[in-house]
Symmetry: C2
Amino acid sequence: MTPTIPQETEDPVSGEQPADSTRDRILQVASQIFAVKGYHGAGVSELGEAAGLQRGALYYHIGSKEDLLFDLCKRHVDEALTRGRAAVASTADPREQLRLLVHAHLNTLAERRSDVIVAEHEMRSLTGDRSVRLRALRREYQSLFEEVFERGVAAGVFRTAHPIDVMGVLGLLNYTYVWLDPKGPTSVDEIAERLVVLIVDGMAAH
Amino acid sequence: MTPTIPQETEDPVSGEQPADSTRDRILQVASQIFAVKGYHGAGVSELGEAAGLQRGALYYHIGSKEDLLFDLCKRHVDEALTRGRAAVASTADPREQLRLLVHAHLNTLAERRSDVIVAEHEMRSLTGDRSVRLRALRREYQSLFEEVFERGVAAGVFRTAHPIDVMGVLGLLNYTYVWLDPKGPTSVDEIAERLVVLIVDGMAAH
């Protein structure tokens, strides 16, 4: 048997095409417009105009408006997952894993502001299989945290890995998108460090 | 001098009229439609249709679409403030004040789901003086928490009342609107009780 090169197949749900600069430009433009006007408030013609594309050309690149929303949400969770997994893989200490997860999370939010707003506000506008797939990805991200807390409970450093507590921690981190200002007087990593203390103490075994 | 009865004056920003059942019905309908389609995605004609009103009659009651959004956001913060103040007033123990604030917060979110979604997602669509006034109200709500933590620091039970920590706590509570299910297997008060432990331990003096 000779090794085979995996075929580029079109994604059945998102109609994803191989990455190209036009597509990236559309995603960038859509992220900003959806963040301001909302998914339902932004027309396809407006997206095309901002990207400098005719309607037909736009649809060729995006498939549908909902495909575009899905791709934006997915791009955001993919990025968070990649960084989160790297954080967890870099140490065996659950407390340090948590610390690195928090830094990774906040830095992702700070760098991808419009993607985050779109994902947070418009996720629920996804339907059918796209909604199912996005939820699965978000669930996977949550599992990263759950596993860290479970290892911490086993090691005697955390008191809980209960889903409600983990969702509380994730909510604390997610909600920072509302007030986190990368250009503010306190750096993203300083903010992360404060929140690490709050979370580690809040979840600590006594 | 004889005492004067304060005149009913029209609110210069929201164009608020004295409460009436038509107005309440419009707010209810708008809350649900804005929550699903977003503020920019919902047309005034759609709101009128859902409320059973002609365009002219609708505008008579709401002033403008942005007035309506402001009133929805304000109604939500007013409710949270009223409950929060009652919670703080009911005891002098900062830890108990925090516990009651958390219960009040989660119960408000659970009971006013569409208002919360609208407030969280569309607050930033408010402009000018409406935006300023809403921020001031939200700031006032945050102060309730800050003051509890400050009293707790003075009493030696909390280690911090730092704005970033307080915003972390508020974010944890606010973000529950995404996953809090009043009909789920765990009651809102049980969830609140778990989160109280997380927050109290996370903010505790050692």
